[in-house]
Amino acid sequence: EDQVTQSPEALRLQEGESSSLNCSYTVSGLRGLFWYRQDPGKGPEFLFTLYSAGEEKEKERLKATLTKKESFLHITAPKPEDSATYLCAVTHSGYALNFGKGTSLLVTP
């Protein structure tokens, strides 16, 4: 059975203070690891998909990396508008996603 564990549960950063969020996973035959951003009262917004160990993707202040056991979402010089819950999900079947509980990020001015 797929397992996805995200840490920390909550993170508070000062504006400009870089950090990383962790997503460790156990899945038989990874077909994809996904990162989403979720704002209060909204559905998850797609950020990245990673498929194989060593892969990296970037978007503005965010960079996602993948190893055989975990993924990191690096946030460089965050701004208050980066405050949200970040969700990690995996799929082994190629269709349904199995989500972690998320990391709630708060960036203060």
């Binding site: 996904f34 989403y36 009262g41 909204k42 559905g43 998850p44 917004e45 797609f46 998909t49 969700l87 999900a89 269709y95 349904a96 996603l97 199995n98 989500f99 972690g100 509980k101 998320g102």
Partner: protein, 113 residues
């Protein structure tokens, strides 16, 4: 990516009643899913909505409680039946297309009183 319209966006319902949630996509999609997000929790897959046939339910979810329809490649409904306060959650529609990844609707926030 696809544009998903999910209705209603929120509702407050009496226990024992049923609510039907609609998910309309602006293009034909390969797969459609329904998820539940309970307060403070992450997303849990309820079922895969299959076009023209019965939905495929995950462990812990049954058709009598969560009947799903998918009459075509762009539309699906989820009904939450005989509701109790434990059904208070956000319900989300998700789709996958041939040219884009998993996209989510904005969700339906359901409160059962």
């Amino acid at each position: 990516s696809a544009v998903i319209s999910q209705k209603p966006s929120r509702d407050i319902c009496q226990r024992g009643t049923s609510l039907t949630i609609q998910c309309q996509v602006d293009s034909q999609v390969t797969m459609m899913f329904w998820y539940r997000q309970q307060p403070g929790q992450s997303l849990t897959l309820i079922a895969t909505a299959n076009q023209g046939s019965e939905a495929t339910y995950e462990s812990g979810f049954v058709i009598d409680k969560f009947p799903i329809s998918r009459p075509n490649l762009t539309f699906s409904t989820l009904t939450v039946s005989n509701m109790s306060p434990e059904d208070s959650s956000i319900y989300l529609c998700s789709v996958v297309g041939q040219t884009y990844g998993y996209t989510f609707g904005s969700g339906t926030r359901l409160t059962v009183v």
